[in-house]
Subunit: 438 residues, 2 copies
């Protein structure tokens, strides 16, 4: 595991031997010659910290690589790759690596979305690099383009499909008419969803990722608890049908947008209607994509696999190689400390469009009453589509009215809905969903 040649070598300690860790170990050993050829240095995997060194793994190295003694594994490391996940001991181990002068690569979204600033500042103070491309949208190179390629532009909005599980489920519901529960069961059967799918379907995973994206896009620190989060567990068959009839598809979007008045950022994760011709609408199955709007570049999209051992390992290796190249050239690492204060605003300040589906009396004058109520609260209607109501009876004739509004504030919509529910011609508000895309 050491080299006697003249080629410079960097020692790499790997923390974690799971799906992604195993693939990083495979690439570092199987592709060693090719990697060395590309950067002119050996990347020397010195050890892998695991809880149980005797366990069998997807990719198995000789037993001397594995150790449950983390100090031993991290000793003398130039780069520590943290792929344990979770808050502790990951946080503690990364801080320890930094204090030892090691550069760190991590894919730990949960940790970065809660304790990111502590880690970025520790790395900046120690003059080491902390890289985390794999933490958002798996293998898609999105963090580096946000930080570097778009650094001369002004990002106004990011919309991401950053959770493959929910995208798979919504895609199944849309394309096969499956219920949420059936689509979830299928996703679990295929390994796209975990036995306990809460973090995915309730939107927490996407919320962590949008906090990290927003930090890099807006140069200010944000945390998971600042993200307004709605999952997909309540998305109904009626939502899908109404969306499809109006030419839209439902996606769980993670959105970070900068507002001018009041100045600040809104972070939100929720099921969202997108026009079928929007680039994000064609992201199917468990794929991820991040759509970026910026002042000069207009719009960009980055698409690829959002998970998977070898795909995520590719992103980890990109970070490892970048750090290695920088180490070999000399010069200080880059830092990610937040540069400015920027308030995180309540979702009530956010402006978007909406689909509102109501069950109302099937009689003349009803549309005028509902439209009038919307107008009274400053919400204007872009389109309306009436469909027969299966619950309609001879005693009480009802119809379903699906409205798509123009842009309005969340707070205005809330008032509009209250007033609409109070109308005598309206039986029920059945569905309210946000609509994005031009």
């Amino acid at each position: 595991m050491t080299t006697a040649s003249d080629t410079p070598a960097l020692n790499i300690a790997l923390l974690g031997g799971g799906t992604v860790g195993s693939q990083v170990a495979r690439i570092l050993t199987e592709d060693a010659a090719s990697l060395t050829g590309r950067i002119g240095a050996e990347l020397n995997l010195t050890g892998i910290f695991v809880r149980n060194p005797q366990a069998t793994r997807d990719f198995q190295l000789p037993s001397e690589y594995y150790s449950d003694d983390v100090d031993e594994v991290m000793d003398g490391a130039d780069i520590v790759v943290e792929l344990i996940g979770g808050i502790e001991p990951a946080r503690e181990l990364i801080l320890k690596a930094i204090s030892q002068g090691a550069n760190v690569v991590t894919g730990n979204k949960e940790l970065l979305a809660t304790h990111g600033n502590e880690l970025y500042e520790a790395a900046a103070q120690a003059g080491v690099q902390l890289s985390f491309e794999a933490s958002v949208a798996g293998a898609i190179p999105i963090l580096r383009p946000l930080r570097d390629s778009l650094s001369g532009d002004k990002i106004t909005r990011i919309m991401g499909i950053v959770n493959g599980t929910t995208n798979y489920i919504l895609d199944q519901m849309d394309s096969t008419g499956a219920s949420f529960n059936d689509a979830l069961a299928e996703a679990q059967r295929l390994g796209y969803a975990e036995a306990d799918p809460a973090a995915d379907v309730e939107g927490q995973d996407a919320a962590a990722k949008v906090a990290i994206l927003a930090h890099l896009a807006f140069h200010a620190p944000f945390t998971l608890d600042q993200v307004y989060t709605e999952g997909i567990t309540d998305v109904s068959d009626l939502d899908h049908k109404s969306a499809a009839e109006a030419g839209y598809i439902i996606k769980l979007l993670a959105i970070a947008e900068q507002l001018e008045d009041p100045e600040g950022v809104v972070l939100r994760v929720h099921p969202t209607l997108l026009p079928r011709e929007h680039p994000l609408a064609s992201v199917r199955g468990a794929y991820n994509a991040v759509f970026v709007e910026a002042e000069n570049v207009d719009e960009l999209m980055f698409y690829g696999p959002g998970a998977g051992g070898s795909a995520t390992a590719s992103a980890v290796m990109g970070d490892v190689m970048s750090i290695a190249k920088r180490r070999l050239r000399g010069g200080p690492g880059r830092t990610h400390t937040a540069r400015r204060e920027l308030e995180c605003l309540d979702i009530g300040e956010s402006t978007t469009r909406y689909m509102v589906v109501v069950r109302a009396a099937d009689a003349s004058g009803v549309l005028a009453k509902v439209a009038g109520t919307f107008a009274d609260h400053g919400v204007s209607i872009k389109s309306m589509n009436q469909t027969p109501d299966e619950a309609s009876s001879d005693d009480e004739k009802t119809a379903l009215l699906a409205f798509i509004t123009h842009r309005a504030k969340e707070s205005q919509l809330a008032q509009t809905l209250e007033a609409t529910k109070g109308l005598d011609v309206v039986n029920e508000v059945l569905s309210v969903m946000r609509v994005e895309g031009k």
Copy 2:
């Protein structure tokens, strides 16, 4: 134009005041405060080299910015931004900037695809940085992800829609049934195509870009003249119809792929059939996208505007900001010199699928004869679709047979076509197009 504050400042000389140059000048002056806030240094636009300082421009700065004396403009520059285009004097000016110790940002694809290596080596020797994100796919951040994010993976293939003009024309032909000439005229009317559209429609523009992409993806130098290039001028109505009937769409793709046996790279630009569900198939109008296949990451796509002043200026500014940040941190620039020898192979070595449309006798046994001829040459047929032939007459009943093959070598296909043309039941081979995508 100089600063008296304590904030460090970098001097930027701009060469060229056209569409992109004007937008770079606008961003550097209008967004100066915001850019300074982000990097902690002033980006000081010291002058703009133009042929005619008195001309009116899209974005006009005070007249003292403009000069036709390039030495004066470049004097004392930390970063020289070359947006003149063409080979000379751009090449000479970039070499001069490098020899003065300035870092260089350019969007000049033609120059890089012909004299790239000379420039990369000059920059490496002088220890300055030469960045060129804007040279390929306008504003889409593709070069940095290829170089950095995917540096730990092994790229096997790149397929790009990197010319907006041809994508617009093919999209119009596909969606409206327009002829090539009508679609070109419409593109010219809208400003998507130039009065002399040769460089776009004949594929030379895309060829320059794929040479640059291949250099970064495969770490070896390639030039424009190594790219097999076919434009879209011969794409016919029948090609579009046959493709559509088989579930495909025609795109002009710029492809760089690494072969194992014989080892090397094939670079090719040609109209290509893609399955309608392929991510590149949904890239409409004048948009660009680059699809990357790599061993670990599987597939990625980068999508965005391929041209336009402010969008391309955003990519230029990303390079300027990266250089500025590096200058402020200290440490040497990065170099792009090719690291290995890798042969550029003839397209005859390339393996792909094909659509072949023939006019043949409308009689029993014809399919068996054609299929037999294909099989004799090692080309196996995946699907066949027969359609009525408008040229069929009572004297001579003919039909159109559209075949989609499995993967075969270009050289095998050439032999197959020769033999097919010699069959007595085949009147004519009407269309031959390459097919990509799974």
